[in-house]
Each structure stands twice: as structure tokens, then as C-alpha cells.
Amino acid sequence: MTSKQLETDQEVRWCPGCGDYSILKQVQNVIPELGLKREEIVFVSGIGCSSRFPYYMNTYGMHSIHGRAPSVVSGLKAVRPELSVWIITGDGDSMSIGGNHLIHMLRRNFDTNILLFNNQIYGLTKGQYSPTSEEGKMTKSTPMGSLDHPFNPAALALGAEATFFARTMDRDPKHLRDVLKVANDHKGASLVEIYQNCNVFNDGAFFGMTDKDTKLEQTLFVEQGKPLIYGPQREWGIMLDGLTPRKVSTSEVSANDLWIHDDRDRVKANILARFFGDPMAEGNFPRPFGVFYQAQRATHDDLINAQVNRAKEALGAGDLDKLLSGRNTWTIA
């Protein structure tokens, strides 16, 4: 399989310059490396600009209804665990109308990859604030500024018992590809939040973190087993003082004494998830990217099928005729 073979004849209908193009490209680049057959891959989406994604993948796909892709995928995986199933969703799709299904998908841990295109706006409906928009967001539906406090997707996922959370961005193709591969390797529901620029309704929402002039200052790329270091000259590090993170100068603290990233450590993942304020504000930390957390827990697909097999073994494959002639059957002579 080549990435070319994954393209379809459908005209791509995103606005020129939309971050979705880059994500599509990287997904098409990564999939051929995963050793899958095209007919055994399914992309399922909800509704939104991002959710048009399945049309552009030459695999099986479903453009379902707004917010409900996780429920469709749960049924799909329950009966066909061998398929590689990917959920494509937006910030509104997954955290507003579909919030309920997202959290249940995460706790049940079906083996699927969830790509959350977070542009902090409703793109398809032309620019209303979303559950990830910052407070005070001026949109057509909130001309005086939105009042809602935004969701923190990392904290939401960890709170919902997710077994995998990672963050990446449309503007860093290599990082995006690397994260997608790790997410796919993870057995269970892998939630990948992708910062995606909507250049029409929320242009520049992440520029500070994606633009090369400011990126190194505002972001923290975590890698398994490596110390948390960032800054244009890698001059800053993060130390853990008990459970309190502290920004330190790498010229004063040796790398061994810094916080070493361990994506199996739930406590540390929770602290990392709290690095969520404006990275430029006094006292705040940079925004983390990479795999925050991954844990092994039985997947729902495996559990269901194991239970069915156990039932068949313990009770013998069911004989319906026998069931129907159980206690409540008789003949009247």
C-alpha cells in the first residue's frame, strides 16, 4: 500500500490553508507503514469540517451523525475486533454534542484511535465558540464574549479513565506521524488531540505554539525517559518538588535531577495535563505535546468476546430448541 492509494476521487472541500489538509496528508503517510490492508481499515466520523475526513480516505468509512461516532465504533469493534478503526472528530463533535459518548468510549477502552481535531471553534457552522474556546471568545453567537470555561481535553480524558492520551499539532508533520504510530500501537482507545488551525474562523488560535519564532518558548515536547527541557536554547527545565512542578534553569540543575517523562505514570500525567494556562502568562508552564499517558487495560472488544467464548464453553453452545423446551413447555395428551 502507498499513501497515493489511500487518496480518493472525492474533491477535498476544506478551505484553502485549513490545517485539516496536513493531518490528512500525514495520516495517508503513516497508514502504509502500519502493515494493514486497506479493506480492513475503517474511518468513522461525526459531523463537522474535520468529520468529512473519511471521504478522502480510500478505505471503508462512515460519515455518521453529529457527536455519535464513538457509539458506532463501539458496535463495530465489538463484532469485528480485527478491523483497524479510526474515529475522526472535532472539538464540538466530541466534547459538546458527543461528550457523553467520548467519556464512555474512553472508560470502556475499545481498541480504536480517536483523532480529535481541536480548532477551538465550530468550523462547519461558520464560527461559533466551542467547548474548547477560551473564555470571552467573541463569535457570532457570543458577540459580547463567551462565558463558558473551556474543557481541558487531557484532564477530561484522564478523568474518564482513558488508557492513552497524546497531543500533537497540524504544523509539525513529523511529530504528528510519530504520535499517530504510537497511538496505533497502543491497544485500547487512544485519544490524540491535534491542534488544528481553522484559518477562516479562528485563525492563529495556536500560532504561539506552532510558529517557529515562539514555538520553542511556549511548548514542551515530552519524550519517554527524557528530562522535561524546553526553550529556544533549551535553557529551561522542569523539576518536580514533591508533586509541585517548578521551572528551573538547565544551567543550574543537572538533567538527571529534572522531571523524567514517564508515560506510564498516571500521577505525572495528571500534573502534565494541568499545564494548560496561557504559556506566556507569568508563572505558567509551556504547553506539553507528545504522549502524556498510556496504560495497559483489557479492551472492551476482547472482554466481550472472551465472555461469549466462556459462556459457550461453560454452558455448551446453546441449543435453541432445547431452550424453548425448557421448564415451560409441555404437551397435553
Binding site: M57, H63, V72, S74
Partner: protein, 630 residues
């Protein structure tokens, strides 16, 4: 007539049955506070009777609350059992006999017109000597009132009798009552013993034998202390029978259909379908999935169906409302799926435990846009079994969601029917994973029938994106307005293609006359019983009973044209002309009437109500008599 009962093994000697009166049917109620086992008692009486070859129909009497306060008027919990010499198809009219464990619960039933003058009331008399004065007074007042209303009141020392055998009369009184009723109605005590052993099969031998003793003590007491008892002759049936309620029948039907998955969110009165299913489903490889809500439940079923498995989702009113957007997707994207809606009273939370047939139009028209799908309704408990199998077949043949309607009356009613012999043709064929034929679209609609074949993930060369957007034969999003028109035509054509295979509904009675009643769903038995009586009286009345609602069965307009008047009988709301503000212009018709008026351009009238009670033959008969005389 003297009727010596043979002594069954392990039981004490039985009393002698004297002067038994032979009746061809009777209606018995057992009412109590909830948790006193009245339903178990009545179900057992029903099963024993069915096994003797009697016709049986049971209806549960359910309070809205799980644990209403004891001795409350609204808290009546219990069961009605109608036993007949022939097949019984409905709950009948007034009860002939009622057993009450306290007097308060009877008020509610009286208000519902469950009893008439002469109904025998066997009432627990322990309240007469209760330590609290106000309870003694309540009891005394009630007895006076019941007598004044014409009930034939017999005060029975149930508690005292049970205490002779067990320390806690609350546990086991229902079995004593069962014994008493077996005595009164000449039930086969070997069958009764077997029934009691079945109920307590998971309990210790000691518990079993103490319940058996209560059973035979109740039997003896009846024969030694009551001056009446009855015989209800039974039929000889040479085919195996099964006895179950409609929800159990649907769960067996689900397995017999080869459906592989049922997803649901608990809701009364649909939940027990999945409970029955969960007991056995995994043995035949099936899955019951309890989703986070009804939307997710149907999404789950759609995901499984898209992946090639046959799926079912079960719900009731409020849950159906939540499923509508996904049903629209299933229609648009032609996803085979069975949806069972066990109707309860509505709108909103409505009457969760009571019967209504108010979801018909929601089932047919509930989705936005034009969303044709097959909708049909079971009329008997036996049909609850067979229609699930049919629903699965139709869903796959016509690549469509299929909605099967039932209701509380069928869901909880128990009736015997011939035991189905499982037929492997009922099962779904395994999914085809051979390569998809090149060039064929995922929606290659037949111009003739609108039917197309679908590729399944895993099938080489079949890749497509299923979509809820208007789409062409290749499932490509339609930017051309013609495509939407064309695809809508094909989806609608499937309904017509199916309609062409349907037969005209059978007419119960003459093909012409003064009045034709049209029913659907669980009212079948009551309507046909009333029509039979009216026909005996010489009235020119017939009835038809619709199973298919979308598409409708053929020939209706022609059938209607041969009757002076056509009236639907339904358990949903309609206005009555003459009520304040209601005129013949603004009057709202009941649902089937509305639908048939539009469909046949016939002036179809309606007889309907929403009391939350099953339709009674007496009410229908009275309606017929008034109508024909007019």
C-alpha cells in the same frame, strides 16, 4: 357431582370437591402491596392452567412506584388471570373473583372498574384485629363499603392459617393463596406441585417442602370452608405448547432469528426483553450491550450492522424519541436494523407501566425528512416471537431499518402457544467476505425494486464511505440535485416492492355489513371477542386487524367500501365531538384513523382512549351496540 382428588405424592390428603359448577371461563385477580408475591401467585395459577390445557391470559397490575407505601390505594400490585376452556386472547371484563391481601389496594381497582356486583372478594381478615385502631377502622369501613357496592365479601383468615405452618406468614402466604385458588378452580395438584418446585428450585429442600405444605393447606382450606368451587374444562392439544410473556417471546425470537447483538438502555416496559436475552444469548454467541443512552444503543447496533452483523435495539417511547436521528441515518444509508419499541403511555415519561398504542405515527413519521422504513406490530404473544424473525429477514432483504411495535399488554401478558420448532432458515446467513465486484456501487439500486447489495468492511474492492448526506450509487456525496430526488425514489420504491408481496388482511366476519372495526396490536383479542358476541346478537359487524403499518396491507379502500361505517379501535388519544371546543373540523382523530383517512379517503372514525388499561371486550361490545343502533 362428587369429585375425588387423587392424593399426589408427598402431599397431605386433599379435601373433597363437592357440587363443582362448570364454567367456560373466569377472571381472577390477586392484589396486594407490592412485594407480597401476588404476581408470582397469579403467574403460577396461569401456568398450571395452561399446562392443564386451558386457555390463559394474564395482565400484571403494576403500581407506578417501585415501593409504594404499604396499604395505599394507588399501590395496588398484582395480577389478573383469565382462564378459559378455549383459547383466551384478552383480559376479559370484570373479575369474577378477587383475592386481596389488604383492603386499601382494592379501592384503586374499584375506581378502574375492575369489579362488578357479585364479584367474590376473598379478603385477608387479619386487619380486623390489628393493634392500631385506625387500621381496624379503615378495614371495617372498607368492608361495609365493598358490601354496599355489591361485592360478595368473604373474610378469610389467611394469616392465621399460614401461621399454623410457618413462622413468618409474609413469606409463603402467596403459595397458600395459590393452593386456595387451585381448590376453588379444581387445578391439577400435581402440576401445581411441580410449579412450586420450579419456583423454589434454587432454594433448600426445607423451603420447598414448607411451600408445598402451604399450597396443600390452602387447597384444603378452600374445600372445607367455601361452599363454592368450579371446574373449567380444558382442551386436548396434541402439539407441544410453551407459555411465556411477549417480552420473553421477543427474546426467543431474537435468538431464533439469528440476530447477533442487542443493544439497549434500560426502560420500562422494554427492559426485560434484554434480561431474558442476556440469560441465554451468549451461549449462542450473541451480545447484549447496555449503552450509555438510547442514542448510543442504536449507534452501537448501526456500527455492528455496518460491519455485517445482524443487530437489534430495544426501547420504549422516550428512548425511541432519542433514537430518531440515527434511524434517519439508517434509512438514508440503508442500514439493516431491527428496532423494537414496546409502547407505554406517553407523551414524555407518561404512564411508564401502563399500556398505550400512541407511538404509531412516531414510528412511521418520527424522523425528519422523508424516511420510509418498514413498520409493523405484533398482535399476539406468539407473533412477538415470529415477528422478530420476520423483522430480521425484511431488514436484510430490503436493506432498511425495520420497526416492530409491541406494548405493555403484550410485554407482560402471559399466554400459551404452540412451541415453535426452530428452523435454520430463520437464521441470518454468515457474512460474505468474497471480493466485491469491480465497478458495482455500494448503492447500485435496482431500478425495478430500489434494492441494492451492500459491501461489508473486510471485503476487498468494496471500499466506500457510508454517509448520511444525500449520495449517489457509489455513495459519493450528491452535489447534483437530481441525485437526491433519485435516491429518495429508490428508498421509497423498496416499500412499494415489499407492499406488492403482502396479502389483503383477513376479514373476521362477513365482507360487508353495517360496521367494520379496524384494529392493530394487542387489542386483537378484545376486538374479536366483542365482534363475535355482537355477531351472535345478529349485528352486522366485522373486523380486520392490521399487522403492517408501513407499508399498509393492500385492499383496504375496497374492504372499507363494503361497510356503512368504518371505525378504528385504539389505545391512543382522540377528541370527542361535543366536548368543549371540539368540532368536527378541529377534532383530532386517533392515530390509525388519521392514517387510514389519509390513505383511503374513507371517512374512518375512531373509538379510542388513554386510560392506561388494556381494551376490554365489554367496552368494545358496548360501542358496537351503540354504533349499529344509531
Amino acid at each position: 357431582m362428587e369429585n375425588q382428588i387423587i392424593e399426589p405424592s408427598g402431599l397431605r390428603p386433599m379435601g373433597t370437591r363437592k357440587n363443582s359448577k362448570v364454567v367456560d371461563q373466569t377472571v381472577v385477580e390477586i392484589v396486594s402491596d407490592s412485594g407480597e408475591g401476588a404476581q408470582k401467585c397469579g403467574q403460577s395459577l396461569g401456568s398450571i392452567s395452561a399446562k392443564m390445557g386451558n386457555g390463559v391470559w394474564t395482565v400484571e397490575i403494576i403500581p407506578a412506584e417501585i415501593q409504594p407505601p404499604a396499604r395505599s390505594r394507588e399501590g395496588a400490585s398484582g395480577i389478573r388471570v383469565r382462564i378459559g376452556s378455549k383459547k383466551v386472547t384478552n383480559m376479559g371484563n370484570h373479575a369474577n373473583l378477587v383475592v386481596a391481601l389488604n383492603e386499601q389496594v382494592l379501592y384503586g381497582r374499584l375506581a378502574q372498574d375492575a369489579y362488578k356486583e357479585g364479584t367474590v372478594l376473598l379478603i385477608e381478615n387479619k386487619w380486623a384485629n390489628h393493634e392500631l385502631e385506625h387500621i381496624r377502622n379503615q378495614y371495617a369501613e372498607a368492608i361495609t363499603e365493598f358490601k354496599a357496592q355489591g361485592l360478595d365479601v368473604r373474610e378469610i383468615p389467611m394469616e392465621t392459617e399460614c401461621l399454623k405452618l410457618v413462622r413468618d406468614a409474609q413469606k409463603g402466604k402467596n403459595m397458600w393463596v395459590l393452593g386456595m385458588l387451585c381448590g376453588i378452580y379444581g387445578r391439577d395438584m400435581e402440576r401445581a406441585e411441580e410449579q412450586v418446585r420450579g419456583i423454589f428450585r434454587k432454594k433448600s429442600e426445607k423451603i420447598i417442602s414448607s411451600n408445598l405444605e402451604l399450597l396443600s393447606a390452602g387447597y384444603d382450606w378452600a374445600l372445607n370452608n367455601l361452599e363454592f368451587n368450579y371446574e373449567i374444562p380444558a382442551m386436548k392439544l396434541d402439539v407441544d405448547q410453551v407459555v411465556m410473556n411477549g417480552n420473553e417471546a421477543m427474546s426467543f425470537g431474537t435468538m431464533a432469528a439469528g440476530i447477533e447483538l442487542c443493544s439497549m438502555y434500560p426502560i420500562t416496559p422494554a427492559t426485560s426483553v434484554s434480561h431474558h436475552l442476556a440469560e441465554n444469548f451468549e451461549k449462542v454467541g450473541g451480545i447484549v450491550h447496555q449503552a450509555e443512552d438510547e442514542i448510543a444503543a442504536i449507534g452501537f447496533a448501526i456500527g455492528a450492522s455496518y460491519a455485517g452483523k445482524t443487530a437489534l435495539t430495544v426501547t420504549s417511547g422516550p428512548g425511541l424519541a432519542l433514537k430518531t436521528e440515527f434511524i434517519g441515518l439508517a434509512v438514508m444509508a440503508e442500514i439493516p436494523l431491527v428496532i423494537i419499541n414496546v409502547q407505554r403511555g406517553g407523551p414524555s415519561t407518561g404512564l411508564p407501566t401502563k399500556v398505550e398504542q400512541s407511538d404509531m405515527l412516531a414510528a412511521i413519521y418520527g424522523e425528519t425528512g422523508d424516511a420510509p422504513k418498514i413498520v409493523f406490530a405484533a398482535a399476539t404473544i406468539e407473533e412477538c416471537f415470529h415477528f422478530v424473525i420476520l423483522a430480521r429477514k425484511l431488514a436484510e432483504t430490503f436493506r432498511t431499518p425495520v420497526m416492530l411495535l409491541s406494548d405493555t399488554n403484550l410485554a407482560t401478558g402471559v399466554q400459551p402457544f404452540p412451541r415453535p420448532k426452530i428452523n435454520s432458515e430463520w437464521f441470518a446467513s454468515p457474512i460474505d467476505q468474497s471480493a466485491w465486484k469491480e465497478g458495482v456501487g455500494a448503492f447500485q439500486w435496482s431500478a425495478e425494486t430500489g434494492i441494492s447489495k451492500r459491501p461489508i468492511p473486510g471485503q476487498k474492492g468494496g471500499m466506500y464511505t457510508l454517509t448520511g448526506l444525500a449520495h449517489d450509487e457509489k455513495s459519493r456525496v450528491a452535489y447534483d440535485p437530481d441525485i437526491n430526488q433519485r435516491s429518495a425514489e429508490h428508498r421509497s420504491r423498496k416499500m412499494a416492492a415489499f407492499q406488492q408481496t403482502l396479502k389483503r388482511p383477513a376479514i373476521n366476519g362477513d365482507a360487508e355489513g353495517d360496521l367494520l372495526l379496524v384494529g392493530w396490536g394487542s387489542t386483537l383479542g378484545a376486538i374479536e371477542e366483542a365482534v363475535a358476541k355482537a355477531q351472535e346478537e345478529g349485528l352486522k359487524v366485522s373486523s380486520i386487524h392490521l399487522r403492517f403499518l408501513l407499508p399498509l396491507e393492500p385492499g383496504l379502500k375496497d374492504i372499507f367500501s363494503r361497510f356503512k361505517k368504518v371505525v378504528t379501535v385504539e389505545l391512543n388519544y382522540s377528541d370527542k365531538v361535543g366536548d368543549p371546543m371540539i368540532t368536527s373540523e378541529n377534532r383530532r382523530y386517533s392515530q390509525l384513523a388519521w392514517y387510514l383517512r389519509a390513505h383511503t379517503l374513507t371517512d374512518v372514525d375512531c373509538f379510542s382512549n388513554v386510560f392506561g388499561q388494556p381494551m376490554s371486550p365489554a367496552k368494545v361490545l358496548q360501542f358496537i351496540q351503540n354504533e349499529v343502533k344509531k
